[in-house]
């Protein structure tokens, strides 16, 4: 089995000697991590940050309109 786009003979040493299972596993871990981070970021900006924005905006208006 060869990782697409990175045939064994194309890879310089010592990556050339790395087994495909290492590359596949490493890429699975990388892809899994990046996918979770991207998902979390979207959720955070979409949901969490929106809440923070609304809450913060209320504070901003309160502080701005405050008069002694």
């Amino acid at each position: 089995m060869t990782v697409r786009g990175s045939r064994r003979e194309d890879r310089p040493w010592p990556a050339a000697s790395l087994p495909d299972s290492y590359l596949i596993s490493r890429r699975l871990v990388t892809a899994g991590t990046v996918a979770i981070i991207a998902g979390s970021l979207v959720l955070f900006l979409n949901e969490g940050a929106a809440g923070v924005w609304r809450w913060g905006f209320d504070i901003f208006i309160t502080v701005r309109d405050w008069r002694p």
Binding site: V3, G5, R11, S17, S21, I37, L41, F60
Partner: protein
């Protein structure tokens, strides 16, 4: 006085201005910045961390720390206790989730920690020189500080996510992988139990269900000299579940069933080459013993040659496994074809004559051992004949002329022609069975064929017992003073049958009958 008053007024005005400015800075800059700081900081930290994780995506990326086959050999856990005298694991790449994932995860943590330290260093240098300005402008600097802290949190969140993902892979390996591993190992064991497969060394007599396999990939002379191309434990494990990658990059199948089909097997103790498909085929070892000149070699020669030639006409195909066996078989064929007498077998350890039987989809390896009677009679020498321990089938050859009652009835010239065995059968039998029992071999699990040889000469003395009737031969032996041997054999062994054999006259006794019976007890049919 006026100047002091003006100075105080200026001071108050400045302070009031600062307070008013501070109010506007907090309201219009501080709070919006504060609101932005956490999402922007966290997002920046996560993206930075993701970038660090993605650095290891390219196939050319080489981790600074790598668990190679050399590391495996140097530090890996030893699955197989003894491998041709060397205590080590095989030279192959371990599964990623055994060790390498830890290196990759820790590298990610270290890279991010190094980034944070660099950022802290920069911040420290900046605040050292402009501390007052930084402190005075806290509506701006505080949100920036919070943003930086959020970014650091985001970066380490990435590392935590990577650790969790890698640990999930590790758990998956230890659950799914272990299940597959146990299943495949069980299939291997089941195959061995059902089909009686083993690999036996024809020279050192070592028997193992797990032969050593040689990797066919490119190996340097040095690697070959260090036996790094040999895989002592091909079973699924830390080096791979379905397949493993040898240190040379060659992909090898796991499990003995699959490896035996394509790889060359070798002996575990002496790394001598074993027959093809050793470990996959049923393995039957037949040891022949008896007194010197009892007719062991003649029985083996005529029995094997007859077995081989008759098999060519039947459904089973019989072939000779290796060149050494071919040479020995050719010598035995010559003896049979030319009707020559055999010379006494040399008192050296015998090498097996190995044949392969194929019948339909089944195959079996047959190993025949012919030892010198002199060596077997000697307690010190017979200790080294360990093939007897591992044979589930044995043949004991009795020279009828070594029985005093037969000798008394026979004419003297016939006795001279018969080249009577040196020891009496009782002594020869006790020497070998005693040796087996001394070494803790359970003879109750072995089958024994007792063959009365030289039947053609015996026919000149008296009417023979029926050759195909085990009971008839047994009664004849008992009647000629062998009651205790017959009774002892039936007590010692699992199954015992009696045969008459003649290398010259097959009507007097077929020399291959004992072999056929013993092979049938091992579920091997050569017809």
């Amino acid at each position: 006085m006026i100047l002091v008053g003006l100075y105080l007024l200026l001071l108050i005005l400045t302070f009031c201005g600062y307070i008013v400015g501070l109010y506007f800075a907090i309201v219009y800059a501080g709070i919006p910045l504060l609101l932005l700081s956490v999402p922007v900081g966290v997002s920046a930290g996560l993206l930075w961390g993701a970038g660090r994780v993605l650095e290891q995506w390219p196939a050319t990326h080489r981790p600074p720390q790598l668990w190679t086959p050399d590391s495996e050999v140097a530090h890996g856990a030893v699955d197989t206790p003894m491998t041709y005298g060397v205590l080590r694991t095989d030279h192959a790449w371990a599964v990623y989730f055994i060790r390498q994932f830890r290196y990759d995860v820790s590298r990610c943590w270290l890279r991010l920690w190094s980034d944070v330290r660099s950022a802290l260093e920069l911040a420290r240098e900046a605040t050292n020189t402009q501390l007052l300005v930084v402190a005075g402008a806290f509506p701006i600097t505080l949100p920036l500080l919070i943003m930086a802290a959020a970014a650091v949190g985001g970066m380490f969140a990435t590392a935590v996510v990577m650790t969790v993902v890698a640990c999930a892979g590790w758990i998956l390996y230890w659950t799914v992988g272990m299940t597959a591993m146990v299943t495949l190992r069980s299939v291997d064991s089941l195959w061995r139990i059902v089909f009686g497969t083993e690999a036996s060394c024809p020279t050192k007599y070592h028997v193992t269900p797990l032969p050593v396999f040689r990797c066919p990939g490119p190996h340097t002379d040095r690697e070959q000299a260090d036996n790094l191309d040999l895989h002592a434990d091909i079973r699924p494990g830390r080096l791979g579940v379905l397949a493993r990658v040898c240190g040379c990059g060659e992909r090898l199948p796991t499990t003995v069933i699959r490896a035996s089909r394509i790889l060359d097997p070798y002996c575990r103790t002496c790394s001598a080459p074993l027959p093809d498909r050793a470990g996959l085929a049923r393995d039957v070892r037949i040891g022949v013993f008896g007194a010197t000149s009892a007719g062991k070699t003649h029985l083996l020669a005529s029995g094997l040659v007859r077995l081989y030639r008759h098999a060519q006409d039947g459904k089973a195909s019989l072939s000779i496994l290796d060149r050494r066996s071919r040479r020995q078989f050719d010598e035995l064929s010559e003896i049979v074809d030319q009707g020559r007498s055999t010379i006494s077998t040399e008192a050296v350890l015998p090498t097996a004559i190995s044949l392969q039987v194929r019948r339909r989809w089944q195959s079996a390896h047959l190993h025949f051992f012919d030892a010198a009677g002199v060596a077997l009679a000697d307690e010190e020498q017979n200790a080294r004949h360990s093939y007897l321990d591992r044979s589930r089938t044995l043949i004991f050859v009795i020279d009828p002329f070594s029985l005093s009652r037969v000798r008394d009835r026979a004419p003297k010239d016939l006795v001279d022609r018969a080249a009577v065995a040196r020891d009496d059968p009782e002594t020869a039998y006790r020497a070998t069975t005693g040796r087996l029992q001394r070494y803790g071999v359970s003879t109750a699990k072995q089958n024994l064929a007792i063959v009365v040889s030289k039947a053609d000469l015996l026919a000149e003395v008296e009417s023979l017992p029926r050759p195909h009737d085990s009971g008839s031969v047994e009664r004849w032996l008992s009647a000629n003073g062998m009651e205790s041997l017959v009774t002892g054999a039936k007590t010692d062994f699992k199954q015992v049958r009696f045969f008459l054999s003649s290398a010259v006259d097959v009507d007097a006794g077929q020399p291959d009958a004992a072999f056929r019976w013993l092979l049938r007890t091992q579920k091997v049919v050569v017809e």
